[in-house]
C-alpha cells in the first residue's frame, strides 16, 4: 500500500540522513543554479536569443533531492525534459545547458540537433532522451535488467511527469521491473498538469504512488517542495534497489511555476491565484530557511551566493553564445556508425 511520508521538522534532519553541511550547501547551490539558469533562459527567450526553452522552476527540490543519492560513474540517470536540476546533479554545467539552449555544435546532448532540454551525456551516465513522452521508461528498465545481467551493483533512476503515467510504455516498463525485481527507482514529478490537462483528467486516482502495488513494489508519495524529504525516500529506495530489493515508485508532489514551455500560455488553464499559492511553497526558500535555522547560512550568505552563482552562469552563457553552430552538411552524419 502506498504510504505518505510524514516529516518532523527539526533542524538536525540532515545529520540523521547522513548529510554533512557541505552536502547541504552543495545541494542548495545546485537548486539555486537551476533556478538561475531557468530565469536566464527565459530572459534570453524574450530577447529572441533562445527560440524555445523548457522551465524547471518549482521542481528544483524534488529533482535535486531524488537525484542526489545516485552514485556518479556507476548509476544511470534517465531524466525527462523537465530535469535540468537532475542533470546538474549528474554533472552537467550551466555552459552545457546553454550550449543546448543555443543549439551549438558542442551541445553535449545532441550537438544542436534536438530541442533544448532533451538531455543526454554518455560519460555522465545521462541517457539521451527524446520528445515522445514515456518512451524512456522501458529503456530505463532495460538498463536495469542489463545491470543485473552483468552483475553490477548499479541502479537506475528514471524521472517522468504525471502525464507520462498514462502512456502504455509507462505501464509496460513498471510491469517488467516488478517481475524481475530490477534495481530501479521510478520518480514521478507530479506537478498536477500535463500542459493544460489537470490530474483529474489524467487518472482516476489522487496519488500516483498507489500504482506501485499494481506492479508488486512499494509506492510512496512525498512533498516535492521538501528537498530533504525527497532525498530521504530516494535514499531508502536506492538502497533497496542496490541490495536486490527491487523497484520503488516515488511520487513527488510538486508544481511548475512557469508555463509548460516558452510556447505555452498557462493563463488559459491555471488561475494566477493558484500559481501564486504554489509559489509560497517554493522549495528553494524553504530549504534556505532550514539552512538558516540549522545555522548553516544567513541572509547575507543567501544573497552573496546567489550573486556569485549568477555571475558564473552569465559567464558560461556568454561562452555558450559565442560557440560555433553546427556545419550544415554535418546533418548527414551519425545516421549509422561511421567507419574510422
Amino acid at each position: 500500500m502506498a504510504t505518505r511520508v510524514k516529516q518532523k521538522r527539526p533542524t538536525d534532519r540532515h545529520s540523521r540522513l547522513g548529510l554533512t553541511e557541505d552536502d547541504l550547501m552543495a545541494m542548495y547551490r545546485t537548486m539555486v543554479t537551476a533556478r538561475l539558469c531557468d530565469e536566464q533562459q527565459f530572459r534570453l527567450n524574450r530577447q529572441g536569443k533562445a527560440p524555445f526553452v523548457v522551465p524547471v522552476s518549482g521542481h528544483e527540490g524534488c529533482q535535486v533531492g531524488t537525484a542526489w543519492p545516485l552514485i556518479k560513474g556507476t548509476d544511470i540517470f534517465v531524466p525527462y525534459y523537465r530535469d535540468l536540476a537532475v542533470c546538474l546533479v549528474a554533472g552537467m554545467t550551466a555552459k552545457d545547458i546553454f550550449l543546448g539552449v543555443f543549439a551549438k555544435a558542442d551541445d553535449p546532448s545532441s550537438g544542436g540537433r534536438q530541442m533544448p532540454a532533451h538531455w543526454g551525456h554518455r560519460r555522465l551516465g545521462i541517457i539521451s532522451g527524446s520528445s515522445p513522452i514515456a518512451t524512456q521508461m522501458p529503456h530505463a528498465s532495460g538498463i536495469a535488467y542489463a545491470m543485473k545481467y552483468l552483475g553490477q551493483e548499479a541502479i537506475v533512476g528514471c524521472w517522468f511527469g504525471d502525464g507520462a503515467t498514462s502512456e502504455g510504455d509507462w505501464h509496460e516498463a513498471l510491469n517488467f521491473a516488478g517481475i524481475h525485481d530490477l534495481p530501479i527507482v521510478f520518480v514521478c514529478e507530479n506537478n498536477l498538469y500535463a500542459i493544460s490537462v489537470p490530474l483529474s483528467k489524467q487518472m482516476g486516482i489522487k496519488d500516483v504512488s498507489v500504482r506501485g502495488e499494481a506492479y508488486g513494489f512499494p509506492g510512496v508519495s512525498v512533498d516535492g517542495n521538501d528537498v530533504l524529504a525527497c532525498y530521504e525516500v530516494m535514499q531508502e529506495a536506492v538502497d533497496r534497489a542496490r541490495s536486490g530489493g527491487g523497484p520503488t515508485l516515488i511520487e513527488c508532489k510538486t508544481y511548475r511555476f512557469f508555463p509548460h514551455t516558452s510556447d505555452d500560455d498557462d493563463r488559459t488553464y491555471r488561475t494566477r491565484e493558484e500559481v501564486e499559492e504554489a509559489k509560497k511553497k517554493d522549495p528553494i526558500p524553504a530549504f534556505a530557511n532550514y539552512l538558516k535555522q540549522a545555522g548553516i547560512i544567513d541572509d547575507d550568505k543567501v544573497e552573496t551566493l546567489r550573486e556569485e552563482l549568477k555571475a558564473e552562469i552569465d559567464k558560461e552563457v556568454d561562452e555558450a553564445w559565442n560557440a560555433a553552430d553546427p556545419e550544415p552538411e554535418s546533418a548527414l552524419r551519425h545516421v549509422f556508425a561511421e567507419e574510422d
Partner: protein, 328 residues
C-alpha cells in the same frame, strides 16, 4: 467569403460541424481549456462542454482506440494528435483496427472517424515536431489519408472527412497554419477525397506536390514563368490514399515531363509511388527523366537553424530542378 489562414479554417469548420451534428466530438490532448496547442479548438469547451470537447489522457494509442469505440457506437469523433510525430504509439490501432474493422467484419462494422495531425517541418520543431508521416499511412488499405494545403481545400475536405463512412487521417502541415491564407466561402461545401487538383496549368512540365511543398512549387513555377518563360503545371495530390492516378497521368501525358517534390525523407517516401506510377503507366509519353526532390535520408529534421535549413527542400532548389528538367 472571408480570407482566413489554415488553422483558423480548421477551427471554424470544426465549429460548424459540431453545431450541425451533435454526434460529432473533438478529443485529444489539451483540446479543452487550452483550445489545442495550435488553438484549433479555441473556445470549443465553453461552447460545447466537456463531453464533446474531451481532454484525453496523454496516450495516443487509446486516443485512436477510444475514437474507434465511439465510432462503433454511433459517434463521429474527430481526434487531434497534438503533433504527427506522436501518432506512432497509435500505429497499431490505426493499421490493425481502424483500417481493418470494415474489412475483417465483411462489411458488418464501420468506423467513421477523423484523426487530425499537424505534421511537417520548417518550424524549428526539431527531430520530434517536424516529421512527415504520410508515407507510413498511405500504405495502409482501409485508411484514407488527405493532405489539403489551401484554406479552401481544408474546409471542403474536413467536411468531407467528417462525413466519410471510413476512417480518415487528416494531415495539416503546421507551417502552413498561419503562413497560408486564402478565400473561404462562408457556406458549407465539400471537396472530394481521392481527387487531385491542378493548382497551376502549364505545358512544359508537370510538378506533383502537396502540403507546404505545393506552395514552394507554385512559387518556383511562377519564378520560372517570369524569369525563364517556362510553363509548369503544378498538380496538388491532396489525397495520398487513395491516390488519384488519372489526374496525375493526364497532366504528365500532356507535358511529357514530370517531377515530384516532397519534404519527407526521400527513400520509400510517398514520391516513390507517384514516380513509380508515372513510370509504369506513362513512360512512353515522357521526353525527359523522372525527377524526385525530397528530404535527405536522415532520421528527422534537426533543431539548429543551419541543420534544419539543410533538411528542408526550398524554392531555390525546386526552381533549379524545374529549370534543369525543362531544359532537358
Amino acid at each position: 467569403m472571408a480570407e482566413k489562414n489554415i488553422v483558423q479554417t480548421i477551427h471554424d469548420t470544426l465549429w460548424e460541424e459540431m453545431k450541425e451534428n451533435d454526434r460529432v466530438l473533438v478529443m485529444g490532448e489539451d483540446v479543452g481549456a487550452r483550445g489545442g496547442v495550435f488553438r484549433a479548438t479555441a473556445d470549443f469547451l465553453d461552447e460545447f462542454g466537456e463531453t464533446r470537447v474531451l481532454d484525453t489522457p496523454l496516450a495516443e494509442s487509446s486516443i485512436v482506440g477510444l475514437a474507434i469505440g465511439m465510432a462503433l457506437h454511433g459517434l463521429i469523433p474527430v481526434a487531434e494528435i497534438q503533433f504527427a510525430d506522436f501518432i506512432h504509439p497509435a500505429f497499431d490501432q490505426l493499421v490493425s483496427e481502424a483500417a481493418r474493422l470494415r474489412y475483417r467484419s465483411n462489411g458488418d462494422f464501420a468506423v467513421p472517424m477523423v484523426v487530425r495531425a499537424p505534421y511537417g517541418g520548417g518550424v524549428h520543431g526539431a527531430l520530434y515536431h517536424s516529421q512527415s508521416i504520410e508515407a507510413f499511412y498511405g500504405h495502409v488499405p482501409g485508411l484514407k489519408v488527405v493532405v489539403p494545403a489551401t484554406p479552401y481545400d481544408v474546409k471542403g475536405m474536413l467536411r468531407t472527412a467528417i462525413r466519410d463512412p471510413d476512417p480518415v487521417l487528416f494531415l495539416e502541415h503546421k507551417k502552413t497554419y498561419r503562413l497560408i491564407k486564402g478565400e473561404v466561402p462562408d457556406e458549407p461545401f465539400e471537396v472530394p477525397i481521392g481527387k487531385a487538383d491542378v493548382k497551376r496549368e502549364g505545358d512544359d512540365l508537370t510538378c506533383v506536390a502537396y502540403g507546404l511543398m505545393l506552395h514552394y512549387c507554385l512559387e518556383a513555377a511562377g519564378k520560372l514563368a517570369d524569369e525563364d518563360g517556362v510553363s509548369v503545371e503544378v498538380v496538388d495530390v491532396r489525397t495520398i490514399a487513395p491516390l488519384d492516378k488519372e489526374t496525375i497521368l493526364e497532366s504528365v501525358r500532356k507535358t511529357g515531363k514530370a517531377m515530384v517534390v516532397y519534404e519527407d525523407n526521400r527513400t520509400y517516401g510517398a514520391g516513390a509511388e507517384i514516380v513509380a506510377t508515372i513510370a509504369e503507366e506513362a513512360m512512353f509519353d515522357l521526353d525527359g527523366p523522372l525527377v524526385r526532390v525530397g528530404g535527405p535520408d536522415i532520421p528527422a529534421m534537426p533543431f539548429s537553424g543551419p541543420l534544419e535549413h539543410f533538411f528542408m527542400p526550398n524554392v531555390e532548389g525546386i526552381h533549379a530542378a524545374m529549370k534543369e528538367l525543362a531544359e532537358f
